[in-house]
Symmetry: C2
């Protein structure tokens, strides 16, 4: 029941010898989701020992080249490795022509469906849902249309306290009710209703874990509320705090702005990246964030952040 | 007066954690020429400490993704670094739509002219010429239109043997004649012609150096004659000799085929690359080539091959 973030690239627009452009993989219950697709992502996947064939879906925040130029090589290699499983790409509307270009010139080797799910919401909206995971997207504040993503485990089924089954003579139907996290209601012989609280009969095995990705973006009012309470928030921190004017002009964030969002959103941990190539030392970035929000981490390429399952029994 | 090859990527279609896709820089007299443009090339340029702003022209053999997907990030970064010098791209006709796609979606940040010089020749044809360097292109034998390149220093000016100036009372015009490598001709008072051989009056300071790039290609009859006598021949050797059938089906070459070409062409040195991702050990490739042509070298990413200037004085 893993919930693990692997940061593949932490450079901003210009890659360096040590940092690739933005890309990450979030693995949830064995399923891998690629978030952004900077140039060289397939090499980084290899270095991090993540099979690109295991990538179920791709989430692209915006079509600036440093977030998207790796998609061509990625799709080509998936084709060469004879992928058959469809690939869903959740990306802004503006990604459509880019995908069409690729498919028209390089699509011959692509035997699997590549499905573009266009993003154009004005507020948080669910875009992906399975039994165990929900992903929603929300608009960011960048120079071109851009979207953040929030990955959240679904509420787990309740576990039934086994000794209560006999104690209350629970029927199969009532066991199902408890698993759904609902109170059990019975009509007694006298016609009155008996309510047995679910907390008496069962317990949530763990709290759902969550991860939010906010890049690229300048600060905006709703941001903290839209990512409230996530276990890990990844937020771009392109600039040190002394370059706030430059951040504003380019619709980016500074360290302190990323940290302020994390604090206001009461997240578990802040992970930052997308460093300007001018600054070679992410520790400076980290220190500035920690002056506001102590659980701040400046990622390097290849870093892994795990959100362990905390059992509640 | 350098003439230096830096091999940036030696993978074939699928990059590995250790090898990027095809790209090389040839530096001639301080000018840098990029040959092919696999994904991640700009990162490799940084690792090899070659400024991408110094790249004068780009030569693209064919538009398979592993030779071209790095062009988008490269042009974007050149734009971000405010390049003003025009960039010539010598590439097949089929590259045109790829460049047009890029310029229409990402061209806003590109303030310099990007000039596509389409290749469509049926035999070796000069495509670039300056005072000191000539580049010609010639068709290869690949699945789609593809071209090889031959870079050759122009014949240098002759050096005048200074002591001959007085000995023969050479005029300025005659000095110019010697520098052009021509015999000096005089009309004597009796009307006869005196011819003073240029070898008496001057000498070629060095033999022009040359480099040929052949990738991707299956063997073809004219190949060796078209690259005859080059100091370094780079030839793809995607497959070991046991996989000749596969090489033929995919319009690639084996080690022995690359080496046979080098031997027949009497080149100075053979450098091979574009290894299939199945084989992790280029030494095996090298050994097979050396069984036919001893001066064979299996390149790794980052390898540098210099052709020193050999003075003839």
């Amino acid at each position: 029941m893993d919930f693990t973030l692997t940061v593949l690239g932490t450079a901003s627009a210009k890659p360096t010898a040590a940092r690739y452009q933005s890309a990450q993989v979030l693995t949830v219950h064995g399923r891998s989701f690629l978030i952004d697709c900077g140039e060289g992502v397939q090499t980084r996947l290899q270095t991090s020992r993540i099979s690109l064939m295991k990538i179920e879906s791709v989430f692209i925040s915006h079509i600036h080249g440093d977030h998207v130029f790796g998609i061509f090589g990625l799709l080509s290699t998936m084709g060469m490795l004879s992928r058959t499983q469809p690939l869903n790409i959740y990306a802004p509307v503006s990604f459509g022509p880019i995908l069409r270009f690729f498919m028209s010139y390089y699509g011959d080797g692509i035997a699997f469906d590549v499905i573009h799910n266009p993003l154009n919401m004005k507020e948080p909206t669910e875009i992906y849902s399975t039994k165990s995971l929900s992903v929603s997207a929300f608009p960011l504040n960048h120079k071109i249309e851009a979207f953040g993503f929030l990955f959240r485990e679904k509420e787990p089924q309740f576990n039934v306290k086994k000794w209560k089954i006999d104690e209350y003579s629970l029927t199969l139907t009532e066991i199902g009710t408890v698993k759904r996290g609902e109170d059990v209601r019975r009509v007694l012989p006298d016609g009155t209703e008996q309510v047995i609280p679910v907390s008496e009969l069962g317990y949530k095995p763990f709290n759902p874990r969550s991860y939010a990705y906010c890049s690229d973006t300048a600060p905006f009012p709703e941001e903290a509320s839209w990512v409230h309470g996530v276990d890990i928030l990844y937020h771009e921190a392109t600039y040190l705090s002394s370059l706030e004017d430059q951040a504003k002009a380019r619709f980016h964030s500074t360290t302190l702005q990323a940290a302020a969002c994390a604090r206001q959103a009461e997240v578990g941990k802040l992970v930052i990246g997308h460093y300007s190539s001018r600054n070679k030392d992410p520790k400076q970035y980290e220190a500035e964030c920690r002056s506001i929000f102590s659980e701040s981490y400046a990622a390097d390429d290849g870093d892994v952040f795990d959100v362990p399952l905390v059992k509640l029994d």
